[in-house]
C-alpha cells in the first residue's frame, strides 16, 4: 500500500506539479522533525521547500479540496486499471440510463407488469456471473424489438420485444442475455480506452467538472452509439447468448427460450424497423441461432424445464 501511495504521489506530482515530486515523496514517507522523530499525521514540507509545495500539500490534506479529489482519482487508477469499482460503473450506467429514457421513452405505466419483469429478471440475475450486485429492469413503451443493459445492472426492454415473446422462458433468456452483458462488463470494455479514463480511475465530483466533465459526456455519447446504434462486438453478443442460456437453465427455465426467440426474430426481421433495434445492434439472428444450437446438447433435460406460457400471456395481455 505504501508503495502504491508513493507511486501515485509521484505520478500526481509529475502530472500537476513538475519539480515538486521530491517534496511530496518526503512528505508521504514521513518527514522527520528536528529531533529525528517522525511527524505524525502531517505532510508538512521539510525545510527549504517552496511555499507553493507547502500550499499544495496542505490542500491535499483537506478531504474536501479539489486537489485531494484529483489525487484520489490518480491514486485509484493504479489499483483499478483492471477492475473498475462498482460506484464508478453505476455512475456510467445511470448516466446512460438517462439517455436511454430520452431515446426509447418512458416506462410502461403498469406496476404489475414492471413487477413481473423485475421478478423474472432478478430470478436469473441471482444465478448470474455477478450475483452480488443489485439489478433493475424496466419495460419502456416503445414498439421496437430491443433490449439493452447499462453498466451497473440497469436493464431496459422495449414493450415491442415483450409483445413478440410467447413464454416466460423466452423472457428469462432475453433478460439473462442482458444480465450476461453486465456480468462480462461488455459495455465497460468498449469504453475502457476512453480519453476520460486517461489519468482517472475513479469517478469523483471533481472529475465531472471542466474538461474531464466534457470527456465524460463524450464517453457516454460514444456508449450510446455503441449500445443504441452500432452494437457491441459480435463476439460479445455470442458470449452473452451462451451465458444467458446457461444462466436461465441454472435458474430452472428452458434454455430453448433463447433459440425460440432467435427463430422468431428471423421471421420478424423482414417486417420490423431496423434502426435502433436488436436487428441493427446485434449480429444476424441466423448466426446467433447457429451458435446457440451448437450448445443445445449441454441441456439434455431442457424439455422438462419451466416454460410458463400461461403466466407470461396473462402479463403480456396487459400491453394490448
Amino acid at each position: 500500500m505504501k508503495w502504491k501511495g508513493l507511486t501515485a504521489a509521484c505520478l500526481f506530482c509529475l502530472l500537476l506539479a513538475p519539480g515538486l515530486c521530491l517534496g511530496a515523496l518526503e512528505g508521504e514517507t514521513g518527514a522527520r522533525d528536528d529531533e529525528g522523530s517522525p511527524r505524525k499525521g502531517t505532510l508538512t514540507s521539510p525545510a527549504g521547500q517552496t511555499p507553493l509545495l507547502a500550499g499544495l500539500l496542505e490542500k491535499l490534506m483537506d478531504k474536501g479540496s479539489k486537489e485531494r479529489k484529483i489525487f484520489e482519482g490518480v491514486t485509484s487508477i493504479i489499483s483499478s486499471a483492471a477492475e473498475m469499482d462498482y460506484e464508478t460503473e453505476l455512475t456510467i450506467g445511470e448516466s446512460l440510463a438517462l439517455e436511454g429514457f430520452r431515446r426509447y421513452g418512458m416506462p410502461v405505466n403498469d406496476p404489475a407488469l414492471q413487477r413481473y419483469v423485475n421478478l423474472v429478471g432478478c430470478a436469473v440475475a441471482r444465478n448470474s456471473l455477478r450475483p452480488a450486485i443489485p439489478y433493475h429492469f424496466v419495460v419502456v413503451d416503445n414498439p421496437l424489438i430491443n433490449a439493452f443493459s447499462c453498466p451497473g445492472g440497469i436493464i431496459f426492454i422495449c414493450s415491442g420485444l415483450v409483445r413478440a415473446l410467447r413464454t416466460e422462458a423466452q423472457l428469462a433468456c432475453i433478460l439473462a442475455h442482458e444480465v450476461a452483458h453486465v456480468g462480462h462488463k461488455h459495455a465497460l470494455k468498449s469504453i475502457q480506452r476512453a480519453q476520460f479514463f486517461q489519468g482517472v480511475g475513479k469517478i469523483t465530483a471533481a472529475t465531472m467538472e471542466g474538461e474531464k466533465g466534457r470527456q465524460f459526456e463524450q464517453m457516454i455519447g460514444n456508449l450510446q452509439t455503441v449500445l443504441f446504434d452500432r452494437g457491441l462486438d459480435k463476439n460479445m453478443e455470442f458470449e452473452a447468448d451462451l451465458t444467458g442460456m446457461q444462466t436461465a437453465y441454472r435458474t430452472g427455465y428452458g434454455p430453448n427460450g433463447m433459440i425460440e426467440v432467435l427463430q422468431g426474430l428471423i421471421l420478424l426481421q423482414a417486417r420490423s424497423r431496423q434502426k435502433g433495434s436488436w436487428f441493427s445492434t446485434h449480429p444476424p439472428p441466423k448466426q446467433r441461432l447457429m451458435k446457440c444450437m451448437s450448445q443445445a446438447s449441454r441441456y439434455p433435460d431442457w424439455k422438462s424445464m419451466a416454460q410458463l406460457p400461461g403466466r407470461f400471456r396473462s402479463y403480456k395481455a396487459r400491453l394490448q
Partner: protein, 170 residues
C-alpha cells in the same frame, strides 16, 4: 527406440495426472448464487440446514435428479439445487450498502413502483452529469423510481414456487 519409450511412458503418466486432476476438480463446486440453501432432503420444502455464502467451496458426495448432495467446509451435509452451484468461483464484489435499495441483500421491491425512493437518489456524479447535459428533471425522476424498486428474497422465492421453477419444480 529407448527414447521413444521414455516419451510415451512420460506422456501416459502425464495424461493420467491430468485425468485425475480433472475428475478431482468435478468433486469440488462453488456456491454461485445468492441465498443458496442447504436442504435436509432433495426438496425445496424440506428443512433448511444452512444458507451458504456466495463463493463457498463444497465437496460433492452424489448427484440425483438435479440436486447435489454436498459437504460444506464446516462439515455440514445436505442437498442443494444444481443451479446454485458452479464449477468455478463466482465474482464476489463489494457493493456499498447505500447503493442497495430496500432492505440489505434484497434485489428488487417491485410493489414500490409508485413510491418515492427512500434510501438514496442517483449518484452525486450522475446528478452532475444531468446538470451538465441539461437533462430534463423528468428523466431523473423516472430513473430514481426504477432504481427504487426492490424485491426481497422471500418474494423471489414465492414467485419461483408459484411457477414451479428450479428447485421448486416437481
Amino acid at each position: 527406440m529407448k527414447r521413444f519409450r521414455i516419451f510415451w511412458v512420460t506422456g501416459f503418466l502425464l495424461a493420467q495426472v491430468m485425468a485425475f486432476s480433472q475428475s478431482h476438480g468435478q468433486d469440488k463446486l462453488w456456491v454461485a448464487s445468492e441465498e443458496a440453501r442447504l436442504k435436509a432432503e432433495r426438496s425445496a420444502s424440506s428443512e433448511t440446514i444452512a444458507t451458504l455464502a456466495l463463493g463457498t467451496e463444497v465437496s460433492v458426495l452424489s448427484y440425483e435428479s438435479r440436486w447435489y448432495q454436498i459437504r460444506t467446509p464446516s462439515g455440514q451435509e445436505g442437498w442443494i439445487y444444481r443451479g446454485r452451484l458452479n464449477d468455478s468461483p463466482p465474482a464476489t464484489e463489494e457493493v456499498p450498502q447505500n447503493l442497495f435499495t430496500g432492505i440489505a441483500k434484497s434485489k428488487i421491491h417491485a410493489e414500490g413502483v409508485d413510491t418515492a425512493r427512500s434510501i438514496r437518489g442517483l449518484t452525486r456524479e450522475t446528478e452532475q452529469y444531468a446538470r451538465n447535459r441539461g437533462t430534463p428533471a423528468v428523466y431523473q425522476e423516472v430513473l430514481e423510481r426504477v432504481l427504487a424498486l426492490s424485491v426481497t428474497e422471500q418474494e423471489l422465492d414465492a414467485f419461483l414456487r408459484e411457477g414451479k421453477i428450479g428447485e421448486y419444480a416437481p
